[in-house]
């Protein structure tokens, strides 16, 4: 029986019922915790028989034979402890049920919205957060969509009391959709709601140039203290200071080249998002040190492309030295991000590369590697405990910690599971 399963039975039996009732949809109990005797597995490091001390949301010690008076002890003997996984592109917290328009408020009106912030609109009670974290996905990028400049993406944890509590980085990057002169940008990534810019691509491209120039001029003006505060242009300044990257959706090799050139022209850091054909420009990406947020690996290639192109690409990028992360692109299936990585491993990506791309690399790409991405002293206590390799489907996630809190498995799916598992068997005579 899996740990989740065993734990579920205990919960069902009411042994932990008071905790669960008090913590219905709660982000979990604060520590301190002492995780004893497990194998700690960072992407590049495997430490058998290692303990972890968690206090005030952070990992305060990692090593053998640790102790802490008053700590809740978690026996992890025979188990594995992995740093929380990261889905580097979602709409979690902004969207709930795909087909219900009022539950999908991910896009603002207008084409140039660097001042629009995802973080302030995140619903901490989103059922998707709970479902996502129970497979060990403890952090995600969630971002606005649409327009030429969609707004500010947030790097968040998948459990918390408020959106401030969720946030690791309130502004992790600004999403910029380059209007494609080839016409591909006309309806953006998805077309219509949630897509990129709508309008004449050449016109929009010219407007983007003007906007970038005005932003740069504003930046210089502010630095020289000659320009008055403007909320919109002010939002562009962290880009020029290279504090945050521009997140640029680009799939073809031509689009990726354009995105890299755009970054160089304006002196800003670029993160490629999507990157369906990134392997075709992998040398360039490696040379320019431009990272890629890969779109879904659970995807079909173009009609004329090799059947395994999407699966094999991460392996090629890894070999070439390109830094990348995985993403699901939506939200409700964000918990499947390790399954995307699994397909990449099957088709050539070393498992170490997959674990990097699920943990430390997205942390580095978004400047949060001091906070998350590995199990190390001083970092947020974001990790999950398993009975095996998380990329093996026969493995179950048995416990999840986010920001030092033990997350109860009271997500929507476990609630329904336990409820209907407990339904008395009904004798039915038709």
């Amino acid at each position: 029986m899996s740990g989740v399963f065993v734990r579920s039975l205990i919960v069902a039996a009411g042994i932990l019922a008071p905790v669960v009732l008090a913590a219905q949809a709660a982000p979990g109990e604060d520590g301190p915790y002492l995780i004893k005797g497990g194998t700690v597995v960072n992407a590049d490091q495997r430490m058998a028989n290692t303990d972890i001390v968690v206090r005030n949301g952070r990992i305060t010690q990692v090593g053998p034979n640790l102790s802490l008076a008053g700590a809740k002890v978690i026996d992890a003997k025979g188990k594995f402890i992995y740093p929380g996984m990261i889905d580097a592109n979602t709409g979690i917290g902004l969207q709930e049920i795909g087909g219900v328009q009022t539950m999908n408020l991910r896009q603002e009106l207008g084409e140039f919205n660097p001042h629009i912030r995802a973080v302030v609109a995140l619903n901490v009670e989103s059922e998707i957060l709970g479902v996502t974290r129970m497979n060990g996905v403890t952090s995600v990028i969630t971002s606005p969509t649409g327009g030429v400049i969609s707004g500010q993406a947030a790097l968040i944890n998948t459990a918390g009391w408020t959106w401030e509590d969720l946030a690791i980085s309130k502004n992790a990057g600004i999403v910029i959709n380059l209007p494609s002169a080839a016409g591909g940008g006309r309806r953006g990534g998805g077309g219509g709601r949630g897509g990129g810019p709508t309008g004449d691509p050449a016109q929009l491209a010219a407007e983007l140039e003007q906007f970038m120039q005005a932003s740069k001029d504003y930046d210089a003006g502010r630095a020289a203290k000659t320009t008055k505060l403007d909320l919109i242009y002010e939002s562009m300044r962290p880009l020029f200071a290279k504090e945050i990257p521009a997140i640029i959706p680009a799939n073809t090799d031509a689009q990726i080249r354009s995105a890299i050139a755009f970054g160089e022209k304006w002196g800003i850091r670029v993160v490629i998002q999507g990157g369906q054909q990134a392997f075709k420009v992998r040398q360039l990406l490696a040379q320019k040190n431009v990272p890629v947020i890969l779109g879904a690996i659970e995807a079909a290639p173009g009609d004329a492309d090799p059947y395994d192109e999407v699966y094999a690409q991460p392996g090629l990028l890894y070999e070439a030295g390109v830094k990348f992360a995985f993403s699901t692109g939506n939200g409700s299936n964000a918990r499947h991000v390790p399954l995307h990585a699994q397909l990449a491993v099957a088709y050539g990506l070393p498992e170490e590369g997959a674990m990097k791309a699920l943990t430390i690399w997205p942390a580095e790409i978004f400047g949060a590697d001091k906070q998350i991405g590995s199990i190390a002293q001083g970092k947020l206590a974001n990790f999950f405990i398993t009975n095996g390799d998380p990329l093996d489907l026969r493995t179950q996630v048995t416990q999840v910690f986010i920001k030092g809190r033990e997350v109860p498995d009271d997500d929507r799916h476990h609630r329904l599971y336990l409820k209907y598992k407990a339904r008395p068997v009904t004798k039915i005579t038709p």
Partner: protein, 427 residues
Amino acid sequence: MRILNYAGIALALAAPAALAAQDIAIKNATIATITNGDIQNGTIVIQKGKITAVGANVQIPAGMKTIDGTGKFVMPGIIDAHSHAALEGGINENSESVTPEVQVQLKNDDPVIYRALAGGVIAANQLHGSANTIGGQSRVIKFKWGMPVDSMYFKGAYRIVKFALGENVTRASSDAGIDDRRFPMSRMGVDFLLHYWFDKAKDYDKEWQDYRAEVKKNPNALMPRRDLRLEALVDILHGDLKVHAHSYRGDEILMLIRAADDEGFKINTFQHALEAYKVADEIKAHGATVSTFADMWAYKAEAWDAIPFNMALLTERGVLVSVNSDSDERIRRLYQEAGVGVRYGNMPVNEALKMITLNPAKQLGVDKWVGSLEVGKDGDIAIFNSHPFSPTAMVEYTIIEGKVYFDRNDAVTLRKSVANTGPGGAK
């Protein structure tokens, strides 16, 4: 010249050499028979397209083409109980909400078939869409990539008709004004429509039975007017045409069960059935089965209570479950979808593998021939480089009736040769 040309065409159309023989053996492999446990260091022999031996101590006939399965994992070819991969010219007869007289049309050259083979899939139920309360008839086919369409038909499979409930058939997301809507536009209307048509069908059936009795006495008895729609519904009443019903919510699943009980027909399989776990006992009592998504939820309102534990809960309560793709993408990795049942519901591994082999075979009425590795069944197998639920799982060969339809080595070699000699490729 003309004769020579025709000869050239005939040669070009002939099956490639790799497809010529139907005798093949795999040795030293882990073999998941599904029905008789896993065999370590096992051998499987396929002759004339049929499995003639499977076991630990099996002699391979001399000279037979043999794949060394050392380190590999052999399982029955994967079966998808819900696909639209090879449909020609649309999947819905959109004009009316009751159209069981139509049948899907197939093409044999859809690249999705090849890609499904590359994921170990050997057969699929090519279903009509979900626009109609009672939609059209499906075709169960084997993925004999490149062969003529009629040779792909799975002979002996059930005749299957698609039903649909809920948001799709009521067109719940339609922006059309009230005057432009089609009946039914609510689940209540769907229930009524089912009763209405099956009452008509029963009248029609009686009319014909009366006529057949009458005509024995009176050769001049007037033959009733033939109605292909009602005839198909009568086939459903008689169990000759099996119902696969697109459904999501527990309430609508129970509604259809009761409508079927009232009218006197059976539901063979609830397709999708994301909330089937809520009415598992009712489904079992009716004798129906479920073919579901492993883990798709929240994409529309009626998918809000979908849970990845659906497969495990149903299996625990004795309902036969398959996991299907309904997608040109998921059909490429159905093995991964089945594994989700282990991750979330902690299903036994063999039960999870059944969901993409024996269980869909039963739902499509083809378990006499496929779905497990047993002597006498078709030589339809998928060979993985490792366990299909492991991190490195990749399909290396897919074999149908002893013919290799997918070979990973050939795929890679062919690609390299095309890249080197094709247009734009470096010589």
